[in-house]
């Protein structure tokens, strides 16, 4: 056996070692996973799918479409209500995970990717509000700029630059958020769902 493995071989072997198919797509789960609180993670992902789908339609037709087309306005409405559902489900999911102390058993990275996803979602939503090209976006832009300028990042991220906000909202942030969510879910699959808190200590 060659002691100098090819990169491809190394990546394949370490991937298969870390991600067994039975862990990634299990058809059983621990018996303690028996509460409706557990559906809110997948509900959040489902809302994210609706956001991307409706967002792609809006992207295809351009940012001004929804002002003049009733179908466009309808897709904007789906996008907006998907945002509301997304945050509702994500917050219930966050509360559930907090009260389960779901970071136990070396699951701190699952928690961290989840919290960063929460913050990234807020930033994504914010850039979305900026590109509405209506009064609300004008007001939000002129107010938010003061917060960004106060800490210096307004010099780099200009809330009044609709073009910048649009490209960030439509390309950069969905990739970042999508990547974070994939990482988060893979961590859940690899570590397994956190077991119940036992009496006499959480770790």
């Amino acid at each position: 056996m060659s002691s100098k493995k090819m990169w491809t071989t190394r990546v394949r072997e370490s991937t298969l070692e870390r991600f067994e198919p039975k862990d990634l797509l299990p058809d059983v789960q621990p018996a303690y996973v028996a509460s409706w609180i557990y559906i809110f993670g997948v509900a959040t992902i489902a809302a994210f799918v609706m956001l991307v789908a409706s967002g792609l339609v809006l992207t295809f037709e351009g940012p001004a479409w929804w002002h003049t087309s009733s179908i466009g306005h309808f897709y904007n409405s789906i996008h907006l209500w998907s945002v509301e559902l997304f945050f509702v489900f994500m917050v219930v999911h966050l509360w559930g995970k907090f009260w389960m102390a779901a970071w136990r058993g070396r699951r701190w990275m699952t928690w961290i990717t989840g919290v960063i996803s929460f913050f990234a979602s807020i930033v994504t939503g914010f850039t979305g509000y900026l590109i509405q090209t209506n009064f609300d976006s004008q007001w939000i832009a002129t107010q938010a700029k003061d917060s960004f300028n106060s800490v210096g990042i307004g010099a780099y991220f200009n809330a009044l630059n609709t073009g910048q906000a649009m490209l960030i909202h439509v390309s950069l942030l969905p990739l970042v958020l999508g990547g974070l969510v994939v990482w988060h879910v893979i961590l859940v699959r690899r570590k397994g769902v956190v077991p119940p808190i036992e009496a006499g200590g959480s770790e």
């Binding site: 797509l25 299990p26 058809d27 059983v28 789960q29 018996a31 996973v33 028996a34 509900a43 489902a46 809302a47 799918v49 609706m50 002002h67 306005h73 309808f74 904007n76 409405s77 996008h79 907006l80 209500w81 998907s82 559902l85 945050f87 559930g96 907090f98 009260w99 102390a101 058993g105 699951r107 701190w108 939503g125 509405q132 090209t133 209506n134 009064f135 609300d136 976006s137 004008q138 007001w139 002129t142 107010q143 917060s147 300028n149 106060s150 800490v151 210096g152 307004g154 010099a155 780099y156 200009n158 009044l160 630059n161 073009g163 910048q164 649009m166 397994g192 119940p196 808190i197 959480s202």
Partner: protein, 314 residues
Amino acid sequence: MSPQLSKHDPAKKWSGPTRKYDLIKEFVIAIVVVGLLAISLAALFSSPDEPALTLKSWAISDPADFIGTATGELAGTTVSAGYGAPYNTAAEGQVLGPLKLQKWAGVRIPINPADDFVIAPLAIDNDPAVVSAIAAWKAASVDQQGKWANAYADALGKSPKAITLPDPTGVFGPVPAIATGLYGLARTGALDGLLAAGDTPLPTNFTKPLLFLADSGTYFPDYAGARHLQGDQWGVMNETGSYPGQSWLWLYSFWYQIDPFKSSGNADVLVMATMTVLSLALLFMPFLPILRRVPEWIPIHRIIWRSWYRRKEE
């Protein structure tokens, strides 16, 4: 008690009882249910779309405020004129103790409000009165410009509804003609395009027209205030109309309602700093000694896992 139900190390792979579970089916059901929910809400409630304000609508709806703001730009008394980084060096900006984060970013988006919002757009105006007024303005010293503009601003302040004032002694210089010229330009709609198209004829960057609009004394802020969008109205959380807004920003909005934030000139940096600390606490919860034990002490988990705990006892 069966061995696999006794205390389990949460870091170890679960080897206890399991149940059959269809992950893909759950995902598909979630997509269908959430999808139908989103589509139904959209059909039932639609979404808000209050049309954008323009410099044209501003000049037509609140001419005195427009004239007053244009004069203020020339006098250097508007928010933009005295902002500091990233637009100019007119002020230090907000500080967080010894940290001058706003200033340190530097002037990366240079804006000279008097020139950019008022003088430069009037270059296309052929009216002889405007042409000579602009020439007189440019020929004067900065000191003289300030005297004229501040005198006119003060006089307008005493006559809040005035669009122009007589100047028998010439103390206002060319300022009334410049302000009136800009007002005329705005009413045609040309100013919106002129301010936006500074760098390129096909603009996507609305920094200049938005900064100018935001300098408004009454038109823009009153329009927002009527919709509860101001900072001290929990505006960060709110939406136009009766639509739900961004309720997840409740804590961010909260700080602006109370002192010391409410009446501080550094409100924004103080709120950002506070939210950063709290966000970091949430992020690093697994490592915070007391906070991470809260779920144990307030046993909501006993409701979540009640059937499991009951099973253990049996």
